[in-house]
């Protein structure tokens, strides 16, 4: 690579994180550390019913006997779970009845992040649940949605108001002992979003949750549960940011999706947690378990993710295709820069007959980062006539980063077809020169080329998100031109 290209690359990879500010707000903390008392404290704070406390304690006891997974292509420094604060909540003076009662500092924070919580001002067609640290601050449009029988609220409210649904579905896709971080989350999760779309209802607006870590030394452990009843449809978006801090912060979330017969759930994520600085200091450890089950026949779950943040990402949004003719999709763009590490991909488990899955993964590595795709396609004996198509592409910017692909394929019947394609490419000096010769500077050219490379995935995002994601891709790579 020519020297100039290298210089430009270095420049691009050195850009600042835009959401690194801290909100000064009165926050209530649990003492740091993890033990049964802390779990009881969280459960009590949230005025939970007995079954929730039992669920948490069971998970905690299982977690104690588990080990942090070591199979990923990641270098994870030891995490001191006793130094983390497991509950932090912006202090609310009383029960909120309307937006006027929300702390203006909180409103300002979300405003600054581009999220308006004032419904009349908000982008038409998007309802938002805003979560700061451990609690949900505000859910917009709840009343409008209720008219359709749709439940969209914070997880805590769901536990209080719809315990039967929570009891029936929580932990049904990701069991509390599924893995180390899922067990941890199940023990200490504090809030998150809950969605229920009743039979035959097509959710008229996009639902979205915005997660924000603010307080220092705290972990964020949220849980999202989405249930689409028979013939229902919902499109759900998730965004996240965190302040810029020198120490690492832990984020261990769980997302469970249940799609019953003929239902469809589209889940989109733009993950932009603080990635750490240029020298790899600070940043979020993002250990997330996301899984959906296509329980009924002809159901569909689609994951789209744009991953640009976090110091370490460990995340495999997956589909269990149980119903016959059910469909699972995974579209991913993962960008790593500087010292970021990502090990991300999906699992498609074909159980029902004639089930279909599509995996499109686009990895972009720059700086000194490492970016791995890890995916499992499993076709069981019963899943006759099933099909999978996987395409995993890697794009390298510069010559100091790494891209890796770990596809696992297991098929147990002969009538199924599994296809896997993979490519690795670099942005060439010729491409850059061509753009520059047309008047486009190298940095903009990289943005253009990277967005073009990721287009197939970006086109799957809801409109409101696609624009943000495009900008984010360019910003994440600013300083990395090569």
């Amino acid at each position: 690579m020519a020297d100039d290209t290298r210089n430009i690359l270095d420049e691009v990879t050195g850009k600042e994180y835009k959401y690194g500010f801290v909100t000064e707000i009165d926050t209530e903390f649990a003492p740091p550390g993890l033990n049964e008392d802390i779990i009881r404290f969280i459960s009590e704070k949230k005025e939970e019913p007995e079954f929730m406390l039992e669920f948490r304690l069971n998970a905690y006891r299982r977690w104690l006997g588990m080990k942090s997974p070591e199979w990923a292509h990641l270098n994870i420094p030891p995490i001191d779970f006793q130094s983390i604060i497991y509950y932090a909540a912006p202090k609310a003076k009383k029960e909120l009845q309307s937006l006027d009662e929300v702390d203006p500092e909180l409103l300002k924070t979300f405003e600054k992040l581009g999220i308006s919580l004032e419904e009349q001002k908000h982008l038409a067609g998007v309802a938002v649940d805003a979560v700061m640290d451990s609690v949900s601050v505000k859910t917009t449009f709840s009343d409008t949605l209720a008219k359709h029988g749709i439940i969209f609220c914070s997880f805590s409210e769901a536990v209080k108001n719809h315990p039967e649904l929570v009891k029936q579905y929580m932990g049904s896709v990701v069991a509390s002992g599924d893995n180390y971080f899922a067990a941890l989350n199940s023990a200490v999760f504090s809030d998150g979003s809950f969605v229920y779309i009743p039979k035959g209802v097509r959710c008229p607006i996009e639902l979205s949750t915005y997660f924000r870590i603010n307080a220092k030394n705290t972990g964020q452990f949220e849980r999202t549960l989405i249930i689409a009843d028979e013939g229902a449809y919902v499109s759900y978006m998730e965004g996240c940011t965190a302040p810029q801090r020198d120490e690492n912060q832990l984020h261990a979330a769980i997302v469970e999706i249940i799609a019953l017969k003929d239902a469809e759930v589209k889940y989109s994520t733009v993950q932009n947690w603080y990635p750490g600085n240029k020298d790899g200091e600070g940043g979020i450890y993002n250990f997330v378990t996301k899984r959906g089950i296509c329980k009924g026949n002809n159901s569909k779950i689609s994951w789209t993710q744009v991953e640009t943040g976090s110091a370490i990402t460990w995340k495999y949004p997956s589909c269990i295709l149980q119903g016959d003719n059910s469909v699972g999709e995974f579209y991913s763009v993962a960008v790593t820069n500087n010292h970021q590490q990502a090990d991300t991909g999906t699992k498609m488990i074909h159980i029902g007959k004639n089930t279909r899955s599509t995996i499109i993964s686009k990895g972009i590595s720059a700086g000194l980062s490492n970016n791995s795709y890890r995916g499992l396609v499993k076709v069981t004996k019963r899943a006759e006539g099933s099909r999978n198509f996987s395409q995993c592409d890697s794009l390298l910017l510069g010559d100091k980063c790494g891209a890796h692909t770990f596809p696992y394929i297991q098929t147990e019947n002969k009538s199924s077809i599994v296809e896997h394609e993979a490519t690795t490419s670099k942005i060439s000096d010729d491409q850059l020169f061509y753009c520059q010769q047309r008047g486009i500077d190298a940095e903009s050219a990289i943005g253009l080329i990277v967005n073009g490379y990721a287009r197939e995935v970006l086109s799957k995002l809801p409109m409101e998100f696609a624009v943000e994601a495009q900008k984010l891709l360019s910003i994440s790579l600013e300083g990395s031109v090569g």
Binding site: Q431, Q436, Q437, G439, I449, N451
Partner: protein, 252 residues
Amino acid sequence: MLLQIKNLHAQINGKEILKGVNLEVKAGEVHAIMGPNGTGKSTLASVIAGREVFEVTAGEVLYNGKNLLEMPVEQRAREGIFLGFQYPVEIPGVSITNFMRTALNEVRKYHGQEPLSGAAFLARMEEKKKLVEIQSKLTNRSVNEGFSGGEKKKNEIFQMAMLEPRLAILDETDSGLDIDALRIVANGVNALRSKDNAIIVITHYQRLLDYIVPDIVHVLFDGKIVKTGGKELALELEGKGYDWIRKELETR
């Protein structure tokens, strides 16, 4: 004087390619640079455009009186220099429309102009597409991806038409073109001739010059311009071959 090249020397990986080129181009002129393979024609085009793999070791290049060699590649482009590539590169996923809009707005920004509105941009695209007879669908495709040789070259001329450069350098635009494509490309170029801009056509063959009639023809040989004449020089070369130049040089 639009372009003034004085005693230009350039090398790549320590090998000298240009060995003292002198060239003057005025606004309104069309120049043809001819010569056998490997004599430095494409290198000259690359050096003017600012390709960094070539190192300029001596000489100077003035563009509109400004020192061109000090400008970064994109600034030269914004100042109105356009290079029609011999081998246009593919940019997957980036549509021609998006690419051109980005480029055009960058150029406009440089000159302190507002970005072109969507409607104005599309109108301009339609007009220029007609000029080079490219199909409407082509501009929705990724830049040069899966294009035939002819489509790539037409796309270069289309981009030139969109950007309206003051100095266009066409590097062997005729190579790989059938006779129909050649005519279309030439028509595109001729439509852009004006008293304010200049065009340098680099070619092996006289064939293209039947369609784009040059004012001045140069022969580049072994890194230097060794002969300059009117359009009849091209015909003479076609008849006598480059050996004629070689022999003439030896007897000098």
